[in-house]
Symmetry: D2
Subunit: 353 residues, 4 copies
């Protein structure tokens, strides 16, 4: 940690910083400069109360040389984290995992029907919201536990793993009971109570980047999960707030290679929310795979025109099939492949090919 | 609502939109244009499923002429909402209410001591965090219910009202029990479960704008509270995410007059979080009052250099006194005044002058 | 164009809008709504003075249904614009064109040497700055016309086409004299005088998106070029201003398919400036091609550690070769290919294979 | 300057950085840390080629402890710069200077008429565009030199000083000939050729902040002017690009106290462009003065409904009078005052009271 002093800081100000650092149990090393002095804090164990130093007289700014996160970092764990689901899908091992399904679970025929199609087209993980965080209190809020049961039924029939969102303590417990992956949505990325609970839920967690979250913020939120003992965390880039109204969000694909440098955790992309426009989903899905994403989350609806939410950004099933073909070739272009499709076995649920 | 068609939309596409609108129970009025056709939806009752129309072929975009929020709007209720606290402080009635105190409750001497000073300097509402949402799991997380009890003690001694943050269902119930105003922080602005619970908690709610929240998003989150029957909502501008690292956030003071045009709810500003820098708090507090804010939320610590959080943006008590003098004159310049100070009475807790 | 009235607009306000529209020579069609009235302006020829209407009493907002740009739009010209350079490179015809070279021309050995390597690795267009817009007046500002002459020499030797930036009227005239493509940089995207002059320079123009420019702004700036009679315009996404400091800019790859829907002009991406980090250039180059970019602009330096500018984002020549292989496979995955390489011919400059 | 090494940087990487720093003529001081090593560069004279170091193997990032600007900084010149115009108006001396007038000069009656009213209401500087940078090539582009002549006529009659925008080399020369202050608009803030020319024009310059410009960028652009010998620079905050469409821009008033800490140059605010909405101009003008602005730039039109540009954000003359009264009281609240009004003298042009 580096404490940069104002150019008009007095010798007394500098001494006070040095004394405070030593009082806190660290070593201080002043570095005089032409314009101003900086003071290096040596021995930072990640628990330094920077606020206390920043509040001292004459301090211009604190520069953090160490990252505030630990367990999520590549420096803590060099090898990539691989998350293996019950149906054999591995996330983070170099294969591209595809999560697909409707925005919301709307009924049995809808979710079971689309699951079969998606499974046959190569997706191994089914998405579908049972608890929906909606900006308006008057919008459809999801089927709740009935939706979870339908997802479980779809899993039984197709062999797909299930990912679905939890929005509070109650729904989290239920989602953890039914789903293979617990999703924490962008709006709850800094709902730290929910993160702690998710960290103790015993299931892998898909953590979506918040709309105003820096990559550091995202990693710190993931750190909450690891700090509770849950290392099975999948990050998800789904677009940040941008100034152009042509798209719903600004999909920040560069976050993918940046996260992969900083952390051992896998990261996927959600081009459906990232663009908000059906015709842009396939190009950006391709781009995400080309950028190195470990997976995709894609909204597909059997009949987007009648979807209860997000119809305008949902692919038609035929478009999804086209996307799968294209991303498969792209994955190979960079030395990767898609997670192999689930194939029916004589009895029991389908398994990875 | 206006449905704008692509320039290459066919007559059949247009008919499908008209039919869908009618099937949904509304009237449709096509408006042919030189470049493209638009279709007006007549009779919008705020429950139109726009997703369904947006998903139709040939639709370029949906333009919402009506606002998606209702009860928070000036059109729903023309006169300003006024929230009156037990100690007589009124928020939204043209007086500027000042909430002040440390970022975190750290102990009895700290909170009782600062409360006395702030009360004597004219603040009528005491702030102090007992439950802290921190970006890092390794940072101080607050004293919890012990902090709430200390705040209650400070209220008994000084007559100040209490505002403090709730971060989940459990803390919300406790905060509602002890505090006069329940604060929902920026990171939880779209934690809709928490909003619903806050809407039923029977206490006024201070709702802070999220870092990526548009004003429409903020009003929709407030709508969740009103939809649960709680009309005592105070909005708070505290800075949005900006690209300049000189300040912690980008304080959007224009939001104050914009919100006041759109809604009957009072809005205050938090220049402490909005700037993140002690020396910028007073200028921006003055600016907020000049822009028409109904109040301020200010971090003040008896000894910022030893604060457990946010020391760098906390005012010294003497600076707070200086600020109160300046904003008092500014309030008068625009035909307002500060909420009168609490004055000790012979027995019992102090009351408004 | 739709004029949305405030909910409290009077009948007289509405009449005034209708009268004004008619006085301006258009037809007006009021659309009464539940909350408010909107008034459609019929016959918009793109010359409506919206400011005058927006200034009328009771007007809430103006909604532009028609786009403010014309000649750049797909509605004006359906088929894609293809720009053919003297060396045979075609941009916009479905092949991916690669522009590569150092940030700045620094000397003869540097530019000629790198040009040979890049040509041999498949690039057909050489980039290199002779006039550099630098944020600091104390940074290296480019070699000027001497740099242009070296670029011309490199063209003679290698057959590559030349793209280089103009920053004012004088440099524009010189660049137009020497280069095959005149580049207008992000900081000058709304330097309208320069755009007009570029529109009359008789050379194709590469127009980079400004850091705060919406896609509409970018297309309007291109419109300046077309309005001067220059239809040979190549757009370039190079990152917008974002809030995360991990990258220099926020590369908005979704702009590629969005622009291709709205306009017939080709669009390329610049992942060097878009990320600012060498190790992120290749992943984002791949992603740009996967998203449908018509080309790439890549900084490559023979010795990045000694580059006079942008060394940290310049590829080593070997990395460039690796990138070319990867993007070639990705281009094929989406039914495209790279522009064929230039091959030496017995006498004269090399030609496309 | 601090060079932060990656945690996996080798001893050889570190040595290479140290050697390079020494080769460049500076001293290097390694600071070993728990996670990584940092290397302090001692003796930075502001001419270090950071790109060269950043390009070395193992370098994570460069942290600039010194500012890249010099002459604009408080460290270069402690006392505030005061700019005195011919009519006696002083900018930067603690008085609030008001520049007001229409967006565009539209004709003699318009500009002379409004000048008289504004002068009588206390403004001492007249604004009005003769050269207009417009996003669309089809919008009104200004009266050019005829507009300048009308502004000069208005000055003769009223005694007001003139500020008007230059958009290229030609217009700059003309503007410098006629006006008292040369304005460089937001879109040209990084048009470095224009800045250099403005720096040599012999007139004070009003430099507006670009929509994506950090405060550092703004100060570096001002540095271009000072580097050419022109110290009479007035900065102007006029809103940055934000994500909320309720306002045209996001007025960043915190930039005012931030700039005043970092630089000796005066800074004013333009709430007309900063909000884009007439009804928000007065609140934000008040807020700007309360935040410490050295002046305001306000659009006022005798008949906004017929303005050729920016009618929707132009005040009516009566509103301007109301604003002047309010900001006068606010200025006094913070120990300032307005620049005294111009009063007619028996013969010759009016003078400051």
């Amino acid at each position: 940690m580096l404490v940069v002093m104002r150019h008009d800081a007095t010798a007394r100000d500098i001494d006070a910083v040095v004394d405070t650092i030593r009082e806190m149990g660290y070593d201080a090393r002043p570095i005089p400069g032409k314009q101003r002095t900086a003071i290096g804090l040596i021995g930072n164990d990640g628990k330094v109360n920077a606020d206390r130093i920043e509040a001292l007289n004459g301090v211009l700014e604190i520069i953090h040389v160490s990252q505030p996160y630990k367990q999520v970092s590549r420096e803590w764990k060099e090898e990539a984290t691989v998350i293996t689901l019950d149906n054999g899908t591995r996330i983070g091992a170099g294969e591209v995992a595809v999560m697909a399904g409707p925005c919301s679970v709307e009924g049995e025929a809808q979710i079971i029907g689309i699951a079969h199609r998606l499974r046959d087209q190569g997706a191994t993980i089914l998405r579908g919201g049972a608890y929906k965080p909606r900006t308006s209190p008057y919008s459809f809020q999801g089927m709740g536990v009935d939706g979870l049961k339908l997802l479980a039924r779809a899993r039984e029939e197709t062999g797909m793993a299930i990912v679905t969102e939890a929005i509070d303590a109650d729904s989290l417990d239920r989602v953890a009971e039914y789903a293979d992956i617990v999703q924490i949505g962008a709006r709850n990325m800094q709902n730290f109570s929910l993160l702690r609970r998710a960290g103790r839920a015993g299931k892998p967690v898909l953590l979506k980047r918040g709309m105003a979250a820096t990559i550091k913020d995202l990693l710190l939120s993931a750190e909450y999960l690891l700090a509770e003992g849950n290392g099975n965390v999948i990050l998800c880039e789904r677009g940040v707030r941008g100034f152009d109204t042509h798209t719903r969000n600004l999909l920040d694909l560069t976050a993918i290679p940046v996260v992969k440098s900083l952390s051992h955790l896998p990261i996927i992309a959600d081009p459906s929310h990232g663009t908000g426009i059906r015709s842009k989903v396939i190009p950006m899905a391709r781009a995400a795979v080309a950028a190195g994403a470990d997976g995709l989350m894609i909204e597909v609806h059997p009949d987007p025109e009648r979807a209860m939410s997000d119809g305008a950004q949902s692919l038609y099933p035929d478009q999804f099939a086209e996307m799968m073909e294209q991303i498969s070739v792209i994955a190979h272009a960079i030395g990767r492949s898609l997670v192999p499709p689930l194939v029916p076995v004589e009895e029991g649920v389908p398994q990875l090919a």
